[in-house]
């Protein structure tokens, strides 16, 4: 499943880059992160509990930075394993200047395997969309805060 979109952010490319390219910053944006660990420059891991109305879906996620061109492009791979589910996601962000702010084009290729993947297929896309919406909303806030912070 491929989900993609473009988000206009009211912050400079430097600000946006600093948020999305800093694992610990990114961790704050993701819903349900319970713990976070940086292994090395290119690898980090997190324990997440995807919050759903029925209770959390617990997963252990491993992230790997794949490619980066500062201020312009970054891609990473996230592999998550929970009980009966396995997630493999490759995401890429492309930043460009857009007036005062930054335009961020993003794309994610998400694969969910395992029995839970089979059970949840009809709700998977909406759930992924929900998560993405939450991340983007948090990102918007964070960038806004960082921008106003730097302006002070």
């Amino acid at each position: 499943m491929i989900v993609s979109g473009t988000k206009e952010l009211s912050g400079s490319r430097e600000t946006v880059w600093s948020v999305i390219n800093e694992p610990s910053e990114m961790a704050k944006l993701m819903p349900g992160v319970e713990s976070f660990e940086i292994i090395d420059e290119r690898h980090w891991s997190a324990k997440v509990k995807v919050p759903l109305g029925l209770g959390g879906l617990k997963m252990k996620m491993n992230f790997e930075k794949l490619e980066e061109r500062p201020l312009e492009f970054a891609s990473m791979r996230a592999k998550g394993q929970g009980v009966g589910a396995l997630m493999d996601m490759t995401t890429a962000f492309t930043l460009s200047e857009s007036g005062e702010g930054t335009s961020m084009a993003w794309e994610a290729d998400v694969k969910i395997a395992g029995p839970v993947g089979a059970m949840g297929q009809r709700v998977l896309q909406p759930i992924v969309n929900q998560q993405v919406t939450q991340v983007l909303a948090a990102l918007e806030k964070r960038v806004a805060a960082a921008s106003s912070g730097s302006a002070e």
Binding site: Q81, A85, D88, A113, P115, G117, A118, M119
Partner: protein, 819 residues
Amino acid sequence: MTTVTEQPTTTLKRGYVGQSIPRREDKRLVQGLGTFFDDVRRHGMGYVHFVRSPYAHGKIISIDVSKALELDGVYGTLTGDEVAIHTDPFFEMSVEPGGNIKDYALAVGRVRHMGEPVAAVCAATRELARDAADLIEVEYDSLPVLVDAEESLKDEVVLHDEAGSNVVWSGVFDWGDVDQALAEADHVVKIDRLHFHRFSSTPLECAGALVEYDKGTGEWTLTCNHQMPGIGAIWMAPALRTGIDKLRFVTHDIGGGFGNKICLHPQYVVLCLMARKLGRPVQWTEWRTDQHTANAHGNERTFLDVEVAVKADGTMTGFKVKALDDCGAFPRYEPLGCIIWAQVTPGLYGWRNIRVDFTQVCTNKSPASPNRGYSRMQHLWLTERIIDIVATELGLDPVEVRKKNYVKAEQMPYETPNGCFYDSGDYAAALDIALDLIDYGSIEERRKEAASRGKLLGFGIGSTLDSGTNNFGQSTLLNPDLQFSGNNEAASVKLDIFGEVVVTLGTVPQGQGHETTAAQVVADILGCPPEQVNVRRGHDTWFNSHAGFSGTYASQFAFTGLGAVKGAAELVREDMVQLAAAVLQAPVEAIELADGFARIKDGPEEAALPFMALGAIVNANNAFLPPDFNPTLNHRYVCRPYFGMVDTEKKTGQLTLTYATQIHAAVVEIDPETGEVEIIDYAAVDDCGIRINPQIVEGQVHGATAHAIGAALSEEFVYDEDGTLLTANFYDYHVPHAMDMPPLKTGAMESPSPVAPLGAKGMGEGGGGGIHCLGAAIQNALAAAGNAIVYDSCNPPHRVWSMLQDPEATRANVEVVSK
């Protein structure tokens, strides 16, 4: 020149046989007093849970069980590495390349389908075992996934390195001269592609076993629900490097099998190893999701490049086809499916020129396993599709074209182009009964009435055969080196000290009512009421009479199962008659057995011995009998049907023995806006020769029909491109419930089998009649809305809707070349 094999038969006095006696199994089952494997407990037993692969294809990088072992209450674990050390790969039936495949009880180094067992853990409770399984860390590297048989054939990705190819088996079957038939035909109808989908009978009780190991003797006891322990032991004993008698299979009641409980040997071997490793009884109960993802799917088959030779008058003289069978990740019972279909090569039709180019491949899906109508159903679907597509394309009447092409009653016994003998039957007469039941005469009127309500009405026929009793010699048509031929089954009958008749069976019933029908047969032979006959429940390979391929499969109980019962009962009868003659001092000819007595025919009333007296004399009071007279009242009989040898060059021979006929007819209404298919009339006519118990026969017809209706309209194992099974539970894999099933009308004929011991033919599997007649009925209904061709055996609303949206896409599949 082959001739029909005459089986030794005696005329059976029909008394209880032929009656719908209520089943004796029922009394315990309706009170919840049946004993299924999961009902059995042992002191100190542990529960096993499997860790299963979430990947359809991947390398196993590492397995770490340490955290699981730290958990309180965990008894131990087992991984593929240990399995590879302590067992040998299972015996493969194929020649190369499939024969080189190494199939172990747990994944060794690589996973090849989603849900494949990778490790096992045993703990004090079911819940703990699953907790522990969650703690086992397995690291995988994913590999490219094959979910399409045609992709598999390219061998760009190979599942089994040791085989070097995804092809399990391939070969050409060529009977008659199809090229000449096509050359001489007035019309050649070409069909590019037909697809028979994946589904299975999904017995309501999942698989499982309780396994105990006796360290002193090296023996394992499996309290289980294997439906064919004979073959189970043949697979397991060599893998476990032990003797076949070290494996004792015990079954009590089994919650349905339908062939799906034949390939349980991988899981059972894990349980055997675990029981031995831990020195305690271990128990495993499969869950539904596991059964769907990783146990037993029916064979999926794609038919390519079909060409049918048709004469101007509608006579079909032959066809050729490329069949591509998808058996999933491991062959297991395969490649037997590459030949079993040949038992019904021409279907019900008289065409003599048939060429089938058959290839079977592995894919990253659940392994296949025999499934009610195993392998024949797929082929019969092809023949029925051919008939209806030819009829549609050439404007022939589906009833008339069938009657014209059916093998005729006067041709029976009929030798098929590949040397099988259709023993008896009158297909056209059976069709007439079915047509009457659905009021065929009113179809056009009903079609108009439905149209006035915006519905598309369609009518269809499915004509099939259920071939009963396997000749395992057909496996040598796949692999001449196999040392298999023929078949046999055992039973024992004895008269006990208090005059009870005790019967044990070699068969392993899962709902077919063997306790009842065997009692009917024995009662008639011994002259007592069936209540006096105790047919022991279940099966125990140590104590029941048991033969090499003992089990319940291949629609063969009526022949070999009851044949063995009959043989053993007749031996006991002979003893009883001789004993009575000796005691009553009358000639043997003067003795009759009736009403629980041995007596002198037309003799005085007191010249009679109750069975109890006979039993007591032999078992407790026999000193007065002369030394050279030793009636035992205790006999075992092995029924060995005679098949003769198959011809591996010509690929001909008697592959089976009896052919029951099923003619199904259905009327459906399609809602063109949603693609929903509603069955508004359904009739199933069965001719299985002598019906031992008509009510049980009818029950089998109902059940086989329900399976076929489910398969035709909703049951489908669908995989996505990553090899994830999308229909892994009863939400998405929809089996018909009471509101989905239409009322069924049934009809019966009795064309006694001239070859079977009781004139009765195996009939439990049916032939998938519903799949054929519903496909035909849907095509018939769609004729008024673009004339789409039904190309798939499963037609849920979305598929019917797309056929309505783009009938041309389906029509592009078919071409008629007329001369």
